[in-house]
Symmetry: C2
Subunit: 324 residues, 2 copies
């Protein structure tokens, strides 16, 4: 079993109030590199920090790592536009860091990354893949991508209070600046990610399309960003078995999730890691609505549940956090 984390950046995250994936805006750019290292090595190696939210909630990458220690799946990192060198080994698909979506052409590498990731996804020998993402600011770009595809699903937030109005203004700015209108990219998903998206959506959707084309079952581990990946894959014409495996915290935040997955012929699996328990320590922030998902956490919990190891996730995650 292989879990692929697509890790990258968009400068959209640097706007005040957009993301909780880093204690400060300066550290946001390091979060995906650090998440990748935590999955691979169990701790940051080259990245100077362990990602926490401004309120101190630990990164979901620690949960994914814990599930890996319990279940033993392989991890592969795809460079979906990392801004800082990662000590984790990465597969290159030609993605570069995304600019702010208020720019006219924020992700010029998107079509190339989509194509290279598709080839890569097609050539992987695995029968089943779990695919997740780590990109601060990614729910804002996902919202814009839904609009570009002509869809209107809400996106979640790593912040306990979703800054919906701020995100809607940023999305509006993105369409004002770009060549495309809402709905205009329904048949050209590469253009949606290029003009109003981010390099992780481009790389992840290409990867998923290639995997589906070679009859690989794909489990998307994540929330509304991975839902956007499913939408992009379906708009690219990819058929085949897609599951969205997410956390109970994300599902509680987005009541429309079940309707949205149905609309894209995606099975929905929701897993509750039980971080509301008395012994969950700093993980109880998840039960309070911080972070909720990310770094393939929902997919990792799904794998832990399949292996009858869900009970061990809280304790093992706390062990991981202790070593960080």
């Amino acid at each position: 079993m292989r879990l692929i984390l697509v890790a990258g950046t968009t400068r959209t995250a640097e706007r005040e109030g957009i993301s909780a994936a880093g204690a400060t805006r300066d550290l946001l750019l390091h979060t995906p590199s650090a998440d990748a290292e935590i999955l691979v090595y169990g701790e940051p190696v080259r990245a100077p920090v362990t990602p926490v939210s401004p309120s101190g909630c630990p990164t979901p990458a620690a949960v994914t790592r814990a599930a890996r220690e319990l279940v033993g799946f392989d991890v592969t990192i795809v460079d979906g536009g990392l801004a800082r060198p990662s000590g984790a080994p990465t597969v290159s698909v030609g993605a570069k860091p995304g600019r702010d979506i208020g720019d006219a052409d924020p992700v010029p590498t998107a079509p190339g990354a989509f194509a290279a990731a598709r080839e890569f996804g097609r050539s992987l020998p695995d029968d089943e893949l779990v695919v997740g993402e780590t990109i601060p600011g990614g729910t804002t770009t996902a919202m814009a991508v839904f609009r570009a595809l002509g869809e209107d699903w809400p996106t979640s937030s790593s912040l306990p209070e979703n800054p919906v109005e701020l995100k809607a203004r940023v999305v509006e700015e993105a369409f004002d600046a770009s060549e495309i209108e809402p709905g205009q990219a329904a048949h050209t998903p590469e253009l949606a990610v290029r003009f109003v998206g981010d390099p992780v959506l481009a790389s992840a959707s290409g990867l998923v399309v290639g995997a589906l084309e070679s009859d690989t079952e794909v489990v998307l581990g994540g929330g509304t960003q991975m839902l956007a990946v499913a939408a992009l894959a379906r708009h690219a014409g990819a058929l085949g078995s897609l599951t969205l495996a997410t956390t109970s915290y994300l599902a509680a935040d987005v009541p429309e999730l079940s309707e949205a997955t149905d609309a894209h012929d995606v099975e929905l699996v929701v897993t509750d890691p039980g971080f509301d328990a008395a012994d969950a320590g700093p993980l109880s922030a998840y039960a309070d609505g911080v972070a909720k998902e990310g770094a393939a956490m929902g997919g990792a919990l799904y794998l832990a549940d399949q292996a009858d190891a869900l009970d061990g996730v809280t304790g093992t995650t706390l062990d991981v956090l202790e070593r960080l």
Copy 2:
């Protein structure tokens, strides 16, 4: 347990008669990328070929992969100057493909790669590492590096008949073209790899120095190229526990190996995978002196032996070959 494969290229391999690591000279440049993919995925993914020697001997990467399937260790690939994109995730240390050592400055990235790999090696959390290499033509550059350090050890060959005279002529040419004389780099190993070496030796020796500096036990999995890495690390002043784990085929080819490891305070472990048995199929070429080592094979056999799984290596390698 983590096994790190440093994978790269030197155009020295394109000289006629230097290397068996590829059926043709055109395919040589793909061999390290394919070896990395075989270790990670069990088969080539982006690389267009499965490496075999001109006589059809399968790549030692298949043996290392088999040991991984038996023992379950983690694999990390360091890009030590790959010339072709690999579908295997890689850690970048800034190494670029090496030019022919007949050039004046064949590896200008060597000092930078040495330094970045040293930082990376220092920051890895593992208590023990196995380090190996895959670079066609690497025994010729290793011979030149020994001379630059003022040492005179022989190097092995992936060919059944070691082209010693050809290699000696190439090494002489390297010193004629470069700024350094034999023995002149005894205290500056980065310059030995820069002027007469290759990017894999630069990256691997930096990695080993960094690992030793952070009290990690290092097992060098390989033959005379990994012996050159040990020499470079000792010349860089690194103390600490070093073991060279090699195959019986390599050890039989280089009777001076035990003296050479002693001279560098390196423990020598020799493992016989038993490919002379009747059921070894195409692996019997190893017993006839083809390939002998490479892609961390000796280190992987050592791990298999430690896990009491050596008996399974022949059968599992044949299974791996069937899937290639």
